[in-house]
């Protein structure tokens, strides 16, 4: 495939943890190519390495060995990664993150939580209009409320909005519905689908729920740190 | 905020004695109260001033009742008076009050012990500077005041020193002929003392009678 259609390319990624004298291989020789605009889900049992993989891909962690290119930039080569500051610069340009726990700031209002990324970084050449995202996610009526006053579903939508304000190329979602009931889970899944199909956002979803996984175009199963 | 206000008020109160004129307090209240009222079980100290209790209007009334004006640097409307309320159990059994009066060579402090009806139970000088002082300090002199009340003093005019003949005040002997002015000052002090007690403690019991005369 032509390089400029790839959002992300990883080769022979390996992540090894040392626990005392034990060596744990969380990710074992994984190679992956993600096209722009793809929706991929990663599924597998607990301990299969899917979260570790997503952390490596999402530049939240450095691999023990392997190489990776994100958004055309060399992030990892032969196991030598970038500094924390450099990683931060890539992260904020390329990625948006959604986690199982919402991690909203309790002392800020809903609106303030959503625009918080702008306090640190505003994408040159166009960040998104927060109000558009807010309307899209149906949060208009709750703007002045604090996280403590919101429901689980609302909080996750706020987290999604926050992840979108800097128009990320890749949206990483690690078990986003883990704390929500199935109805809300479907709702979130639908939002991700819409973002991918209508806005062309590349979505990488980690889940243990087959129904959620089925929303993606491509599902990859992991077991013991390897693709199955 | 409230705490600060309380502190400020405390400071204001604490600063008062430094600014105001000097009053007349008992040298040793515990001892003096017990001496004058042996059957007492306790006392309460009240502070009052003419300015605080009624301002210029009260001053005028007191001067009228006295028959003499308030004079000088130290006899002013803001002088604090110390009044002692004497108790036996829950019952008030009497009062003690002292006033400052200018004497010949120094200040005279005339202290009265009164019963609840305003009748003098005892009189003594807490201060008196005079070569004839010994004579005036004689208990026999002070005893002459026992049993008198403010009504008896209606007959006495401090400004002229004249007492209606035949009245109880005219009957008071001056044992120190060389100290006539201090003797007169004492009578003025006692009358002033009784008037202030009437105003501050007895609720003007004697005022109606004065008016009706």
């Amino acid at each position: 495939m032509a390089e400029n259609t790839l959002a992300l390319e990883a080769e022979h990624l390996r992540k090894v943890y040392r626990r005392g004298r034990e060596e744990i291989v969380a990710v074992d020789d994984i190679s992956l190519q993600v096209k722009k605009g793809e929706f991929i889900s990663f599924i597998g049992p607990s301990g299969s390495g899917k979260s570790t993989l997503i952390n490596l891909i999402g530049c939240l962690d450095n691999a023990t060995s392997g190489s990776m290119r994100v958004g055309g930039e060399e992030v990892l080569s032969n196991g030598r990664g970038l500094s924390e500051a450099a990683l931060t610069r890539i992260r904020r340009r390329v990625f948006g993150y959604i986690f199982q726990r919402f991690y909203l700031v309790p002392t800020l209002t809903l609106y303030e939580n959503i625009v918080m990324p702008f306090a640190f970084f505003q994408k040159p050449g166009g960040a998104a209009d927060p109000m558009e995202i807010i309307r899209f996610l149906d949060l208009e009526k709750r703007l002045k409320h604090r996280p403590g006053e919101l429901s689980g579903g609302e909080m996750q939508r706020v987290a999604i909005a926050r992840a979108l304000v800097n128009k990320p190329e890749i949206l990483l979602a690690d078990e986003p519905t883990g704390n929500l009931d199935s109805h809300l889970g479907q709702e979130i899944g639908g939002i991700l689908r819409t973002l991918n199909e209508k806005e062309g956002v590349t979505v990488l979803l980690v889940t243990h729920n087959p129904l959620m996984a089925a929303l993606a175009q491509r599902t990859i199963t992991l077991h013991d740190g390897r693709f199955v | 905020m409230r705490k600060r206000l309380v502190l400020v008020m405390l400071l204001a109160v604490a600063a008062l004695p430094l600014l105001a004129a000097v009053g007349c307090e008992l040298n040793d209240p515990d001892r003096d109260v017990k001496r004058l009222f042996p059957q007492s079980t306790g006392y309460r100290t009240i502070y009052a001033s003419i300015l605080g209790r009624g301002g210029a209007a009260l001053l005028q009334r007191v001067e009228q009742r006295l028959g003499d004006r308030f004079k000088g640097l130290f006899e002013t409307a803001d002088v604090p008076y110390t009044l002692y309320h004497i108790f036996k159990g829950q019952e008030t059994i009497g009062y003690i009050h002292g006033v400052n009066q200018k004497g010949r060579y120094g200040g005279i402090q005339a202290v009265l012990a009164l019963d609840v009806d305003g009748r003098i139970l005892a009189f003594y000088y807490q201060r008196l500077t005079n070569s004839s002082a010994r004579l005036l300090r004689d208990p026999a002199f002070g005893a002459q005041f026992t049993g008198l009340n403010l009504r008896d003093f209606d007959a006495y005019d401090p400004a002229s020193g004249h007492a209606d003949p035949g009245g109880r005040i005219a009957a008071i002997r001056n044992p120190a002929p060389g100290a006539e002015d201090d003797f007169r000052a004492t009578l003025r002090a006692v009358k002033k003392n009784l008037i202030l007690c009437d105003e501050f403690l007895l609720g003007n019991k004697f005022l109606e009678r004065e008016k009706s005369q």
């Binding site: 002392t107 306090a119 | 060579y105 500077t129």
Partner: protein, 398 residues
């Protein structure tokens, strides 16, 4: 589009645990109060002492050897133990070139059985009407004025002495035991010094009535402006049976006594500041450790380590600014109370305000408190900046 800044986030973070923030704030406020009061005290004490000394009128005082020159000490000693100098010493002193003027004084005491419960000492200060009023020209009269005739049976009273005996100009005063009548010719205004309780009489009259002709208990000396006071004092020491009390020396003795107190209070202030610094570090550090996940998320959003550092540092600075303001407000409004407290603690306190809080002083205190904030904030901010996003965001399972 409305946005939020790092500083706003920092400010709102302090509201998270209000009690904790409030307590830290009070801690800073208290140390700011102590510091401001201490600095104000340093200034206030020095100026009040100087004023007291200046108000004495003379720079050097000569007394008979072994003589207490203060009325208060005199009363304590029961009026006995008075030692005298000969009047001729005045001429000796005047002959010195450094001397501008001289005023002789005689203190005499009498026992008054009428005062108080068992009597008290009445003290009379005999002064020379030709020289004393000039030296103490700042004394103001409420009524009347100084006497002129050195032999007259007259008196001038300090305000409190007059108030005590209800004396006014024209009234009589009796010297007990001697049965001498004096006429009051002047009553001074309150000066806030010992003069308030003094009875001044003409010295020659006092000498005659008390049989102390030609005798003095003290001589006040006013030194020429540019003169060498130390040289003069050395020469005066030569005079027989005479004690030289230099007001400058008195001031220095008192100052060195007070210096010890100042050092003590300074140490307290420093300790208070250190403790409040630790309090600040603790508070902010705890809140950082509680927020590692949030900080990790911020890093995932694109917060650089410098951004996080700035945010946490801002929180400390806000706390210190607020605490500093609180402390200064307390120092300013409670200056009177602090004044009273210090008077209890110190052996000698001059009259006049002991605490002087000037704008410059407030700026100094504020700067120190700000400095505390800047220094204390460094470590927690650095810890926060170092947080790696992944350490803080670990989902369950993997």
């Amino acid at each position: 589009m409305k946005k939020i800044s790092i500083y706003q986030i920092a400010a709102k973070n302090l509201l998270r645990k209000r009690t904790r923030s409030a307590l830290t704030l009070v801690g800073i406020g208290l140390s700011a109060w102590v510091l401001a009061s201490l600095l104000g005290f340093n200034r206030g004490y020095d100026s009040a002492l100087k004023k007291d000394i200046d108000n004495m009128g003379f720079q050097v005082l000569l007394t008979a050897k072994g003589c207490p020159y203060e009325a208060a000490t005199l009363m304590l000693k029961g009026g006995t133990g008075l030692r005298y100098m000969d009047e001729t010493v005045v001429a000796d002193i005047l002959s010195q070139s450094e001397v501008e003027s001289v005023t002789p004084m005689l203190m005499q005491a009498v026992f008054d059985p009428e005062r108080g419960d068992s009597g008290a000492i009445d003290a009379y200060l005999g002064i020379d009407p030709a020289t004393y009023p000039q030296m103490k020209s700042f004394l103001k009269f409420k009524q009347g004025g100084w006497f002129k005739d050195p032999d007259a049976h007259v008196a001038v009273l300090g305000y409190e002495a007059a108030e005590l005996e209800q004396r006014e100009v024209g009234d009589k005063l009796l010297i007990p035991d001697k049965n001498i009548e004096l006429t009051v010719v002047g009553i001074l205004e309150r000066s806030g010094t010992q003069d308030d309780g003094t009875i001044f009489v003409p010295i020659r009259m006092l000498q005659k009535e008390f049989g102390q002709q030609g005798k003095l208990t003290a001589v006040g000396i006013k030194v020429e402006r540019k003169a060498d006071t130390a040289a003069l004092e050395n020469r005066l020491y030569e005079l027989p049976d005479v004690q030289v009390v230099s007001m400058a020396q008195v001031k220095n003795t008192i100052m060195s006594l007070v210096a010890t107190a100042k050092v003590m209070v300074l140490s307290i202030a420093v300790i208070a500041i250190l403790i409040s610094m630790l309090g600040v570090i603790n508070t902010i550090l705890m809140s950082v450790l509680e927020r590692t996940q949030e900080i990790g998320i911020m890093k995932s959003m694109g917060a650089m380590p410098a951004d996080v550092f700035r945010m946490i540092w801002t929180e400390t600075i806000i706390l210190c600014l607020l605490g500093g303001t609180l402390g200064l407000a307390m120092a300013f409004s409670l200056a009177k109370v602090t004044d009273l407290l210090i008077r209890r603690l110190l052996p000698y306190t001059p009259t006049g305000s002991l605490i002087l809080i000037s704008p410059g002083l407030m700026i100094t205190t504020f700067t120190v408190v700000l400095g505390i904030g800047l220094i204390s904030g460094v470590y927690p901010a650095w810890r926060a900046a170092r947080v790696r996003p992944l350490e803080s965001i670990r989902s369950e399972g993997d």
